[in-house]
Symmetry: none
Subunit: 224 residues, 4 copies
Amino acid sequence: MDEFEELFNYHWQGEGSPYEQLSEKQWNILKAALKIFLEKGYSATTTNEIAHAAGVAEGTIFRHFKTKKDILLATIIPLMQNLVGPGVSGSLQELLVENEDLPLEEVFLIIMEDRQKHVQRILPLLRVIWVESNYHPELKEALMNGVILPSKKFFLRFIEQRQERGELRQDMDSWVLARSLVGVFAFYLISLSLFPDTGERQQNREAIKGIIQIYLDGARSSRE
Amino acid sequence: MDEFEELFNYHWQGEGSPYEQLSEKQWNILKAALKIFLEKGYSATTTNEIAHAAGVAEGTIFRHFKTKKDILLATIIPLMQNLVGPGVSGSLQELLVENEDLPLEEVFLIIMEDRQKHVQRILPLLRVIWVESNYHPELKEALMNGVILPSKKFFLRFIEQRQERGELRQDMDSWVLARSLVGVFAFYLISLSLFPDTGERQQNREAIKGIIQIYLDGARSSRE
Amino acid sequence: MDEFEELFNYHWQGEGSPYEQLSEKQWNILKAALKIFLEKGYSATTTNEIAHAAGVAEGTIFRHFKTKKDILLATIIPLMQNLVGPGVSGSLQELLVENEDLPLEEVFLIIMEDRQKHVQRILPLLRVIWVESNYHPELKEALMNGVILPSKKFFLRFIEQRQERGELRQDMDSWVLARSLVGVFAFYLISLSLFPDTGERQQNREAIKGIIQIYLDGARSSRE
Amino acid sequence: MDEFEELFNYHWQGEGSPYEQLSEKQWNILKAALKIFLEKGYSATTTNEIAHAAGVAEGTIFRHFKTKKDILLATIIPLMQNLVGPGVSGSLQELLVENEDLPLEEVFLIIMEDRQKHVQRILPLLRVIWVESNYHPELKEALMNGVILPSKKFFLRFIEQRQERGELRQDMDSWVLARSLVGVFAFYLISLSLFPDTGERQQNREAIKGIIQIYLDGARSSRE
DNA sequence: CATGAATGAGTGTTCATTCAT
DNA sequence: GATGAATGAACACTCATTCAT
């Protein structure tokens, strides 16, 4: 949890946050709820547990949130809204601006290493988002609007810029190019968690470099 | 459910199936259970519902399956064991053998169109597998041993063969090449279900061709 | 039940009682539970019945007692702890002190008449204790530590004192002397409940006098 | 169970037994049922278990015995009818006849040692009888008529004979004399199972001798 | 506004008994 | 007569939600 503390402070109390006006009590409840959701999943978490962890009475919870589901939405949705965009991933934007003039290989390497660290940090959160989105349309919608569509837009713009600069091929739809890049990297992250044995830092970097090289130059033998 | 009927018949009653010896009543229970699991997820499904849907008394369920969890495993694990391998994906093997001499572009296209149809068919099943694997180690293990590792082996061998033939670059680890291919295609499938608006058959084929082209020849502008 | 009311008040609410702090609702639940336990036995009693008899919802029971078994222990163990010792049998101690200088015959008579009244009063309780001790080791242990061993110690000391005073033979192990006394009297009580027809107050006293006389002077014909 | 085999053969198949006409299948069911009753108690035993242990189908049980309770009665009641009387304890009668001319001390010793062995052998049976008699009036009645009253009659007659011979005091009701003897010895047996640490064979004999001596000559100091 | 005791519908599971074969 | 699959009422226990204080 402690690892998330900073993240949450940012999301929940930052300027423009949907919870700017959150009372300390509400904040405690959400913090406690999230902590347990991440550990045991939503449905295995009881309101009683949340109340204890938040240091309030069980009834108090329902004074602030009409149902248990509301707590889920109130914890997850704001976090999703900041998963990409002005929040943490703002650093992504900044990374890109800072390194605008580096060759593609190096920019990709920087981005991917940054994203890898980020994803590994918020893995439990992603798991809950993924699971509960299947049962709560509100979450699915927020996931779409708060994460997926912005990410899509972000990557499309990035790809298009590089196409315009002549660094990426222009005979191909930008969405196809973007999707391949994301797919290749996303699956790399997934395979890391599936096969945790491989994973020395140095190996990681080489693996990412390999991915980038294939993405940029193709898998085909140069003989052909 | 009806869409799964044929699939289940195949998995559960085919020769050598773990459920060859399934009684009709057991089959009804599993069919009913699966139907509801796919709709509402495992934990939101009550044994009472399953009993009603299967047309048996609640007690009957527990005569055939010791616990509700056993029903989950008995529905999901056999299906997983056939997700890849001698079952449905046997067609994958056959596809490869049949088209061994075609150029890579065409083999990839055939495989991907086949897999796309298959995955879209079993999407609700994949959802349940994905969600419940988080809570039931038996499922996670079956997923790993029955699907993930065999798939990995299968694709590695395929890639290595093509490397040996000189069709794919040999200066790169086969696992990196395989992972990129799978990632690129997996994410294509995911994005199809996320953005269902795009998806005319003809468009699909073009999109897949684009993916393959990027994978083989790279995303880099040829000017460079 | 009414006959136990006074007894329970004593045990559960007396000073130093393990239930001094019992809320009224808890007390109602325990009272209701005990009433039914005494009538039908533990396992034939349902939590639903207890709830109704206590005038609370079934869920309320489990807010106060984690399991049905806990209710059993919470009713029985405190009662056992007072079966002998500072509680009801405190009167035993006092009886002995008060009548220290009376001849053995008279002391025995006083004790036995007192115990007889006590045992007859708590007969249904003894039945439950006896039966359930076979299934619940906690009860067996409490019975041993709370009733049997203290009783043994108590009687041994009494016998030894009388041996020292020269009132009881010293050529015999005190435990043998004590055991005979208790056995003789316990079986008298048991036979009273087995053959309830005999049992006029006057007859009782004569019977007890007979027992005492045999114990003290022997069953052998004086001719020998 | 093997230790009971002989006993059961005697009870159930002996001449005049209520089960003389028992079919082999019924006998198997009863044998299996008793075995499990003795191990786990009546209510913890399922008809399914009995069926398996007896090697018959569950339905078959109910063809021979209307309810599970009937099985209990059919196992326990015949055994009770032979607990005393012409059955095993017939040996008691014989013991008395054989040793008619021995002094009381020696007769008592022989009887008590015999009974002690017998009781220890059938302890699990006694436990079931004791527990279930509380819930099944039929058992209570059979216990009374089959064990308690015959035993009472038996001991009364024995005592009366010895009174007539002048070996036991005649100034005392025979029932009081008998009850004391039985109580003293019964409690000795109970205390043996409560405090199992004491119990070397030699010690046992000495303890029994002590009991007999007190019973015959009294606990009072001879000084008085 | 905060509390936490009370609720009661709902849960998965058991098992003596029935009955079509 | 024997079977064993089917039954369904009953069970102890859970937990999100309510509401009097």
